[in-house]
């Protein structure tokens, strides 16, 4: 059970032309900036394209590629190196931007793309579940966000009101 093997596999998929640009998001992406927090799966964001002759965007080529290499399908997940991996298309403008502006990181000689801290924090704010709010607080407390860049993302994606509400609820007392 190794995330590093997941990264190697995803890179190989990219080399083999099965996927284009990808980026790691979710809790695993956050771990590149914060202390590790237990998570059960890996979110990989990829720009999916319609197959030749079809207008429907499908993850089938990804599943076909991985199952022929011995990976198991589990619902919407593919199990790679013991980790359930979910391939997610960008479902909105914020995640599309996060994918295009993701940064390349090095993991012991293996490069991988990860959402920026500011995009991960903005996505957590947008998604808004309890654990996303907790993660956002981690980003703020860790001081890893570039305030100017974060503010610009919030403005571009109409999240300022939500951020002000979040600040009132969770950050006012700590200031």
């Amino acid at each position: 059970m190794k995330i590093s093997e997941v990264i190697v596999t995803i890179n190989q998929m990219q080399t083999d032309g099965v996927i284009g640009t990808y980026a790691i998001g979710g809790a695993v992406g956050a771990t590149f900036y914060l202390e590790p927090v237990a998570t059960l799966d890996v979110d990989i964001f990829v720009a999916l394209h319609a197959e030749a002759g079809s207008r429907i965007v499908s993850p089938k080529p990804i599943f076909d590629y991985l199952t022929t290499r011995g990976c198991q399908m589990e619902g919407e997940y593919v199990v790679i190196a013991g980790w359930p991996v979910q391939f997610l298309p960008p479902t909105g403008a914020l995640v599309e931007e996060a994918l295009s502006e993701a940064v390349t990181m090095d993991v012991e000689g293996t490069s991988t793309r990860v959402f920026t801290a500011e995009h991960l924090a903005a996505i957590a704010l947008q998604t808004g579940r309890a654990k996303d709010k907790a993660r956002l607080l981690q980003f703020v407390e860790a001081g890893v966000l570039d305030a100017k860049r974060f503010q610009a993302i919030l403005t571009r994606h109409q999240l300022l009101d939500r951020w002000q509400q979040y600040e009132r609820q969770y950050l006012k007392d700590s200031k």
Binding site: T31, P36, A38, L40, Y77, L88, A93
Partner: protein, 70 residues
């Protein structure tokens, strides 16, 4: 040993910062270990789902375009 909550809180914060500043490969190995522990706890406390042998999180509701406004 101290019962000074402020000191405890500061100590926890410092420990979290120390963890966050570890090399990424080391942090990813910690995720591997944390997942194994979580699975072990779940296996011991939650009846297994006969349809699946993989424990996973519920899908994350990444909002679709134009859903930011309340």
């Amino acid at each position: 040993m101290t019962f000074d909550l402020q000191r405890i809180s500061e100590s926890k914060r410092a420990y979290r910062q120390a963890l966050a500043s570890r090399p990424i490969a080391e942090k990813l190995r910690m995720l591997d270990e944390l997942r194994e522990r979580t699975l072990a706890i779940r296996r011991a406390t939650i009846p297994p789902n006969p349809a699946s042998n993989i424990v996973r999180e519920p899908p994350r509701p990444y909002p679709a375009r134009g859903t930011n406004k309340k």
